[in-house]
Symmetry: C2
Subunit: 336 residues, 2 copies
DNA sequence: TTGAAAGCGCTACCAC
DNA sequence: GTGGTAGCGCTTTCAA
């Protein structure tokens, strides 16, 4: 069987209390005892049981990560960033793909509580704010990532979606485009809504109105984007540029353009959002608003860990600025 | 505080033993007591502590998943499949991205043991077989996924890489190609090696030799594939078809072709392996050997759970057949 | 059908 | 400096 603290104690001829102390660097222990105990632990290949430690009211060193779908590139990149920082600070992470279904969210949250995770990172859409509030009420550290609920006092890390939308519009307008269309996620997705709001506002600031019918919303997958882009491109009065609210939708738009024989970027410019692997891999590579994914991951686990340590009492909302990465999917409007 | 078994017992006027029994459906408990206790648990919103249960020598209902990198589409899709089946059977999964570094593998494995996970799914490259053998020796259920170590008695789920390579070659040869090149992962990656072996064998069966210099190996990323493909395409005697051992490499090859002005599939055919999101999203979409990812995920967690239950004593190695999905990256050789 | 009590491996408080 | 011991929340004999 695995060695326990008793085995170590017996072997060293001391009490388990002493072993526990050297293990945690607490109390006063003579250097010799300490050294001897370490040696024995090494020899017996002793590994303290996180389970037992946790039961004693301490931490499990485990975090829960709620995301819509780990197989979606944006979220798998986010997950990687979180995992890395978690590992760095000694935490492991349990992944929970919710498909944005409140029912799955609730199931997973209940599970995570039973497992006594030290904190929960929520990067999934949640319709029911009560879910988060209940967690908070129970004193379970929660951080929202890439989603926010301004009315709730909870730590949050988001990218400035509104500004992202503005930047997308500025870029396109700067290139001479006037007939701009938008493909976003359905209206319930706040981030998408904000991106669109920024986009539209900037258009208006330039005296351009977002045409009736040039705003399409749908689910977040490639196929959805393709379908909506097709609608846009097949109408007789079609846009010269499209702002797609994420990389998957943009790839869909790319496919649609190809399907109707339009060249990107010459016949059609596309601006995307996220800067996942997809935007590099697409042909042409996508001009996109980069979310600082790694930084977001770091921040979010730092926040949750600080909350665990009792520091950082005041709730904060960190807004990161997206950065426009210009690649090959946008070009100056050719005067006709 | 959270309700414990004591709270329930007190409230119901019974002992904790009784509560424990109804909780686990063990022993004989009168229907009434049982019903009453359920009611109270409901009312107090009682959730048994997995931690405490685990300490009593039971299971943690947690699995460890070792993969090279969760942000790699193939593995994020695998992870999703595993998560789903895990959830279905009541297990959560801790993700561990190892970057194929034995050092990280060891760190994670040690961590998983401290957390007393019920089993470990290994889908990452491991140079040191001892690591797996030690796990096995400790009686920790292990299943290998997409990697194998034939010499070790361990449950394994793999795709038939050799056959995949054969199918790729047959397809290309059937299209009239004779000058075939291969881009694979470095030789230490067994799956890639097997794919190449199958490919080469099939070529030879058709009386074609794999030309000197037409076999390139590298890391697994897009940039690596592009670089090697460029070398291939820029030599004066360049191949008419490339077999890339995974989707990322294939995308790299696609980029290289574009860079040198070759049209895929007319000037160059590309066959890929994996059938991840990338192969659908690429332009043209990739002809690829599909790994039955969902099925693999299901199988692998079923295997580990069966092992936990003590059934399934005999070790097995399940080999799944990859399926050729023909998309737009391959075309018949144009006679010149 | 139910309950008392002995652990599971570890921490923390209080003595010595 | 070191050790005794009471839990943490739950499972599991063994008795009643």
């Amino acid at each position: 069987m695995k060695a326990t603290i008793y085995d170590i104690a017996k072997e060293a001829g001391v009490s388990i209390a002493t072993v526990s102390k050297v293990l945690n660097g607490k109390g006063k222990i003579s250097a010799e005892t300490s050294k001897a105990i370490y040696a024995i632990m090494e020899r017996l290949n002793y590994q303290p049981s996180v389970i037992a430690t946790a039961l004693t009211g301490k931490k499990t060193y485990t975090l829960g990560l709620l995301i819509p779908d780990i197989s979606n590139p944006f979220f798998s990149e986010v997950a990687r960033a979180i995992e890395d920082q978690g590992e760095h600070l000694g935490y492991s992470v349990i992944m929970c793909s919710t498909d944005n279904k409140d029912e799955k969210v609730e199931r997973y949250i209940s599970l995570l509580q039973q497992k006594q995770v030290d904190g929960i990172i929520i990067a999934t859409g949640i319709d029911n704010k009560d879910i988060v509030e209940q967690l908070l009420a129970k004193g379970i550290p929660v951080v929202l990532l890439a989603r926010d609920m301004p009315l709730i006092a909870v730590n949050t890390v988001v990218v400035d979606d509104y500004v992202g939308g503005c930047l997308a519009a500025s870029h396109l307008i700067g290139l001479g485009h006037r007939k701009l269309a938008v493909i976003g996620e359905k209206d319930s997705v706040r981030s998408s809504r904000e991106r669109i709001r920024g986009f539209r506002q900037t258009m208006e600031d330039h005296g351009i109105a977002l045409q009736e019918g040039f705003l399409k919303t749908c689910d977040y997958k490639v196929a959805d984007g393709k379908k909506k882009a097709l609608e846009l491109l097949q109408s007789e009065d079609s846009p010269s540029a499209i702002f797609a609210c994420n990389d998957m939708l943009a790839v869909g738009a790319l496919q649609a353009a190809r399907a109707v024989g339009k060249k990107v970027p010459n016949d059609l410019s596309i601006v995307s959002f996220d800067n996942t692997l997809l935007s590099e891999v697409a042909d042409p590579p996508l001009t996109t608003l980069a979310q600082p994914i790694e930084h977001m991951g770091k921040l979010v686990v730092n926040m949750i860990v600080e909350e665990l340590h009792g520091s950082n009492k005041v709730k904060q909302r960190t807004v990161l600025r997206p950065e426009l990465i210009i690649r090959g999917s946008t070009a100056a409007m050719i005067r006709s």
